[in-house]
Structures are given as C-alpha cells and as structure tokens.
C-alpha cells in the first residue's frame, strides 16, 4: 500500500461523513488525480473485506460490507432501513440512472408531480440536492452514500447498465406513423 493510500485510508476511517476527492487532496497535499488513483486502488483492496469503500458523487466513505448486513445491524441493535415505497423507488431509479437530474426532468419521465417522493427521499438522505451549474435558481438531485448503503452497493456504477437492464422492455407497439403496418405488431415480450 502506498503512503497516499495509507493516509487516505486512515482519514476515511476516522471520518464520520463522506469526503470528496477535493477535500482528500487538500488534506494529503496531493493533487486530485493522484487521490483518484489511490481511491480506486483502495476500493479494489477493500472489495471483499469487512469494510468497503463507498463512492458517490458527494464523496467517499468507509462502510461495513453489505454482506454482513444482518450481524452488523444486530450488533448495533438497530433495525434495517425501512423499505422503499412504490413511488419513491420509481423516483429513486430515475435519479440514480439520470443523475444529476432536475425535478422537472424527473416529473417529465414519471408524468406526475413528484414533490412528495422527492421530499421523502431527501428526508431519508437517499438523494441530495445540489445547485444547478447551468441555472442558479434551479437545483439538481443525485444519490448519496446513504443510497449505496441502503441498496448494498459500493458505487452507482455497480448498477447494471440501463440499456441492458431495460433491453427487453417494449411497448406493445407499432410506430404510430400515418400509415402504420398492422402486420408488424407483436405481442409484448
């Protein structure tokens, strides 16, 4: 393990909140690309141990391996996080795959006002609000390390590729061209 890796590991160990690459670079006095490299290697090193490195846009954080969910929660004498509701899980999936995403974009996809789902997700810390770089008045939403912990992931990239995940999803359909070919319709799936 390099010195930088070792230092970063120590800092993440004592930190109780996610740290950004920028913050880690500042603390260690290294540039961000070196930190990025070290973090990637640390993540790899930790992958199968009892401690994993969570990687979200908000920052990096060490966490217990989700494989040990049961005994850790027993030790903490805590309950697992409450399960997600239908509405929140839908909003969460959209945010995770489209992040950072505005409320308007989220609502355009769901076709429904998503104020409550968003608020529920924010309150549970599964998503966070960040300023929109293109619009000072607007906000964007993205998933957090809490999201990763809840679903037992270490980074968003662990999720299957969206295109692959939904490859089989089709509408029972003929393109609604002016003169659609009625033979072409095939039953769903």
């Amino acid at each position: 393990m390099t010195d930088l890796q070792s230092q970063i590991q120590s800092i993440l160990f004592v930190s109780n909140k996610p740290l950004t690459r920028k913050a880690l670079a500042k603390i260690t006095g290294q540039d961000e690309s070196a930190v990025r490299q070290a973090l990637a290697e640390l993540a790899e090193l930790h992958k199968d141990s009892g401690i994993v490195l969570l990687e979200a846009d908000e920052g990096y954080q060490l966490a217990s391996n989700s494989a040990n969910s049961e005994i850790v929660k027993n030790f903490l004498n805590a309950d697992l996080r409450e399960k997600l509701t239908e509405a929140t899980v839908e909003a969460l999936a959209i945010i995770a795959y489209r992040q950072p995403i505005s409320k308007a974009e989220l609502e355009a996809i769901r076709g429904v006002n998503s104020q409550y789902s968003l608020r529920a997700l924010l309150m549970r810390g599964l998503v966070e609000k960040i300023p929109n770089p293109d619009d000072a008045r607007g906000s964007l939403y993205r998933v957090t390390t809490e999201f990763l912990q809840h679903l037992g992931l270490t980074r968003v990239e662990d999720l299957p590729d969206f295109t692959e995940l939904v490859a089989k999803i089709k509408l029972p359909e003929i393109p609604p061209a002016e003169t659609g070919d009625p033979q072409k319709g095939s039953p769903e799936q």
Partner: protein, 239 residues
Amino acid sequence: MHQVKVQQFEGPLDLLLSLIEEQKLDITQIALAQVTEQFLQYIRQLEQLDATTLADYLSIAAKLLVIKSRAILPSLEVEMEEEDPALDLTAKLLLYKQFKEAAKYFKQLDNRERQSFTRATAFSERINFYPDAAVTTGLLRKNILNVLQSLRELDNLPKAQIKEAISIQEKIDQLQVHLSSQIETKLSTLLAGAKNKSEAIVTFLALLELIKQKIFMVDQEALFADVTIRKYEKSETEH
C-alpha cells in the same frame, strides 16, 4: 386477468400503460384513441385529487383527446406547436415503462436487505442527546418554566367564538311557520328579530326564495316604505 384497483397507479402514464397492456392493444393512434374514454372515466373516479395531480392527468388526457379526434376525423388538421402527440406519448410511455422496470430491479435490491453501515450510523435511534457542559439542573428548570409560561400565554390568546350560523333553508322554514299564524307581517318586524347582520341577510335571501317559489308575496306602498309580506294568493293577479 387482474382487477385494477383505483388509486393504485403512480400517475397518468402508469394508468395509461396499464389500460393499453390490459387490452393487449398495440400502441397506435387507434389504440390510444380507444383507451381515451376509460382514461377519462378513471379521472372522474378520482374525486379527492388535488389540483396538481389532476393537472398531470388532464395534460395526458388532452393529448389523448387530440389523438382520438384525429382518429375519428382523419382530415382534422390540428395546429401543432409541439411534436406529434401520439409519437410524443409513445416515447413517454416507453421511457416510463423502462424506468418502471428499473424500479423493479431496485425493489429487488431493497428486498434482499443487504445494507451497509458507516461509522456514524445513519439511524435516528442512535442519535443521543448530550447536554452542553454548562447546563445545570437550575438552568434546565428555569428554561422549562419559560417554555411552560409561553405555552400558558399561547393558551390565553383571545379566542374567537364560532358564531351560530343560520341557513337559508332554516330561515325559510321559520318564516313559513311565522306566517302560518299571521295574516301578514312586515319586513321591518322580521329584520328586527335578526340577531346580527348575517341573519338579516339570510332573512332577506329566504324571503326572496319564498317569493320566487310563489309561497309568499310582498307589497310595498311607496319607495322605501315598509314591505308587507303575505302568503301567496292565486286570486291576486298582478304584482
């Protein structure tokens, strides 16, 4: 086939998707036109919708109606500021369905209950309260008394009493009872009996209603003179 329960949809797209798939319809203009009626019916069922949610449903309903109008009247040229509503809706439905599938996957992840924990565990149950070092029992006592005092003040805020309201219907009944024992009465008498302005107004409205229904008739001898109220009599020809 499963029975679709009211209120189980996540929104208008979810509803529309379910209507189309239930009928095993192709998403053509015709198919969309066919489910329009069902879609509208569903909206009618949703009485307790708040305005925002209703707006979401209506926006899709409007698209459906344009599509349906075109299916019925192929010659209909609707001026489109946006893209073709059918194409637009199809794209929306597909994207929505894809995310519905992604949500299903998320639900699976959720259900396997494999969660990880960080050092500062995120559970509110584990947040403990540690009073500031400077806090003494005396200080706590003083503060709680302050809180109690302000609660008492809150309790002593002037109270408004809900005024007894009288409905027009009640007043109509009252007036009829009143006139059943008398041949005639005066408007001034009725108004003198009113406890407040709103009862006076209700009295007047009740009177108008009774005149309209030809139960009472009124007579006024001169401008601003008192109004005489009698039961309606058919024999009297004009008024």
